[in-house]
Structures are given as structure tokens and as C-alpha cells.
């Protein structure tokens, strides 16, 4: 049971990185990787999801609008099935994510895909986020209100 939870957490963490990576980056990492035999269980397809929002973050939910998503499913020859969902219409990216998800579940490849693909991508993502945060922080303006006297 805990093993299953561990794996689920690992897949979640991998998905959080992969969804934000560029398709080209994932492909480049996977190119250096000795991929096992696999096939497309569900070829990449595009669709829409309804985004829901809440007024002020905790008000009544409303439908904000729709966003395009792509999804795919890949099965390794050893039986593991990976699923990939990502915003946008990049079907190839969804397929690569699904492939990585399947690899993460595989006993033989779980460690190596984490080391060679996901960890470097996570590092890149952290750097990019830090950079954006630093650029934003440089232009920070503090507002304050002087208390006006009565009357």
C-alpha cells in the first residue's frame, strides 16, 4: 500500500515537471535514453476542458472558459501503461509525457528516468522560475497610504 502511494507521489512529481517542460526538451532528454519497446495505446488527441473559477478564490464556482488539452496513453512491452495530459495542442508532448509516466512505473527504468530525464528538467524549471521571480522582484513597488487627519 505504501509502495503504491510512493509510486503515485513519484508519478505526480514527475507529471508536475513534465507538464511545464517544452516538448523539445523532453524529446532531447529521451533521445539519450535507451527506450524499451512501447506502443501507443491511445494516439495523441486534442480536446477541451472546462476551467472553473471561484469569485475571490472562495466564492461560488463559475465556468471561466474552456482550454485545449492533449492526451495520450502509451504502453511498454512489459505492460506498464502511462498517461499524459497537457494544456495546449501539442500531441507529441502528451505522448512523451505518457511515455515518461510509463517509464516511471517500470521497475527497471524508474530510477534511470528520474535521474536522466526528470531531475535535469526539474532543475531547469526551478532556475527558470527563480529567474522570473527575481525579474519580478526587481520591479516591485511598495504602496503605502498616509493616514489623513480627520476633517
Amino acid at each position: 500500500m505504501t509502495q503504491q502511494n510512493n509510486q503515485q507521489a513519484q508519478r505526480k512529481a514527475a507529471m508536475a515537471v513534465l507538464a511545464h517542460a517544452e516538448a523539445g526538451e523532453i524529446a532531447a532528454r529521451l533521445r539519450a535514453f535507451a527506450l524499451p519497446a512501447h506502443q501507443d495505446l491511445r494516439t495523441p488527441e486534442n480536446g477541451l476542458v472546462m476551467l472553473r473559477g471561484r469569485v475571490g478564490g472562495d466564492g461560488a464556482p463559475f465556468n471561466l472558459g474552456e482550454a485545449t488539452v492533449s492526451r495520450a496513453a502509451v504502453r511498454l512491452a512489459s505492460g506498464e501503461v502511462g498517461f499524459g495530459y497537457t494544456l495546449g495542442r501539442d500531441g507529441e508532448k502528451a505522448r512523451l509525457i505518457a511515455l515518461c509516466d510509463a517509464l516511471v512505473q517500470s521497475r527497471d527504468f524508474s530510477a534511470s528516468v528520474e535521474r536522466d530525464v526528470i531531475a535535469p528538467l526539474r532543475e531547469q524549471l526551478t532556475i527558470r522560475r527563480k529567474q522570473a521571480a527575481a525579474e519580478t522582484a526587481a520591479t516591485k513597488v511598495d504602496f503605502y497610504t498616509m493616514v489623513r487627519g480627520e476633517g
Binding site: D40, R42, R75, E80
Partner: protein, 202 residues
């Protein structure tokens, strides 16, 4: 673990395969009795024939309730595969099904148990997809009706043997009625509700 070890894949090329399969079924419906081929291939779960699998991937979606006969329903592979690839709900009540998959013709229930459509919406009837043994040899049948110039002959070995007698209800029900698609491996023959079939013996 989300391993679905025995789940066969869908179409390799979704759009073109679905278009080509749709064309085959449409031609079969337009020319009752003619044998059409289904070219694109997908994985086939359990007792499902490849033609039926291709038709399922083409026509079924979350808006088309499905009814499965005992032969299909007993195979969890079929149910899982249909759910994964088509998203169509599998229902127990055959009278509201859009499609019925019949894996073994001997198990075909009385046709009155399927949706026959209404006079306002005759299209809301169940389309039977029936797996048969052969569509190139066997008993001879004479077909007449729209889409046929004079008489068409069909040679087929079909279970249940009295299928076409049972389909006579279409004569009195019109415009309501049941459409049937017969599938043997990759061959498809459609018997729409307007077609009248007479058995000629073997």
C-alpha cells in the same frame, strides 16, 4: 499500479481510420446486401472481431449507450477496452441502447426488447451489430428494397437462423424499426430497416 496489461491499442491513425471505417459502414447501409471491407485495424479484445472493433472505435462515444450480449459482457477485456477507447456507457436496459453488440447470435434476445425509435424520432432506435460466421458462403438470401436495383443476393451463414424472419417486424413498424449490421471478421453487410429479405435455401 495502473497496469492494464492486456488492453489492446486503438487505431494507429485515428482520423483516417475512423473516416475509412465510417465510409465502409455507410456504403454497406446504402447498398444493403453488398459486402464491404473494413481496412483499418485496431487491437481486438477478447471475443470481438476486428471489424466490430473498428466499428466500435468509429461510431461509439459517450452519447451512445451500449448493450452487450452475455458473450461480450462476460469478457472484462471487452468492457474495459470499450470504456477506455470509446467512453460509451454500457447499460443493462436494452430498450434505451443506441447500439447492441451481439457476440453470439444464438443469444440474441427478442427484437422488441431493443429501442425501436418513435414515430417523431425513428432514428432513436437500436442498431444491432451482430458477429456472424461467414458472409461469403452459406445459405442464400434475396434482398429487395431501397438501395437495391431489383434483387440482391447474399450468401451468409448466420445465427440465429431465423434472424430475417424476426426482422419482418420492420415491415409493420416503419418508420420505426431495427437496423442490423452483420460482421464477419473484416467483412460488413448492413440490413437497414427498409430491406426485405427472403430466404432461398442453401
Amino acid at each position: 499500479m495502473t497496469t492494464i496489461a492486456e488492453l489492446p491499442p486503438g487505431f494507429a491513425d485515428k482520423v483516417l481510420s475512423a473516416q475509412s471505417t465510417f465510409r465502409s459502414v455507410m456504403d454497406a447501409m446504402a447498398r444493403p446486401g453488398s459486402v464491404q471491407r473494413i481496412v483499418p485495424m485496431a487491437g481486438t479484445p477478447g471475443p470481438m472481431m476486428r471489424g466490430v472493433a473498428a466499428i466500435a472505435l468509429t461510431l461509439f462515444d459517450h452519447d451512445t449507450p451500449l448493450w452487450l450480449d452475455a458473450r461480450m459482457a462476460e469478457s472484462s477485456d471487452v468492457v474495459k477496452w470499450l470504456k477506455f477507447h470509446t467512453g460509451a456507457p454500457v447499460i443493462q436496459d436494452s430498450s434505451i441502447a443506441s447500439f447492441a453488440l451481439i457476440g453470439d447470435g444464438a443469444l440474441l434476445p427478442a427484437l422488441e426488447r431493443f429501442a425501436l425509435g418513435t414515430s417523431e424520432y425513428p432514428d432513436r432506435s437500436t442498431t444491432l451489430i451482430l458477429q456472424v460466421d461467414r458472409l461469403d458462403a452459406g445459405q442464400s438470401f434475396e434482398l429487395r428494397g431501397p438501395g437495391i436495383d431489383g434483387v440482391a443476393t447474399l450468401r451468409a451463414s448466420i445465427k440465429p437462423a431465423d434472424l430475417f424472419e424476426r426482422l419482418r417486424v420492420n415491415e409493420t413498424l416503419f418508420p420505426r424499426g431495427i437496423d442490423v449490421v452483420l460482421v464477419a471478421d473484416d467483412a460488413v453487410v448492413a440490413i437497414p430497416r427498409t430491406t426485405r429479405v427472403v430466404s432461398k435455401g442453401s
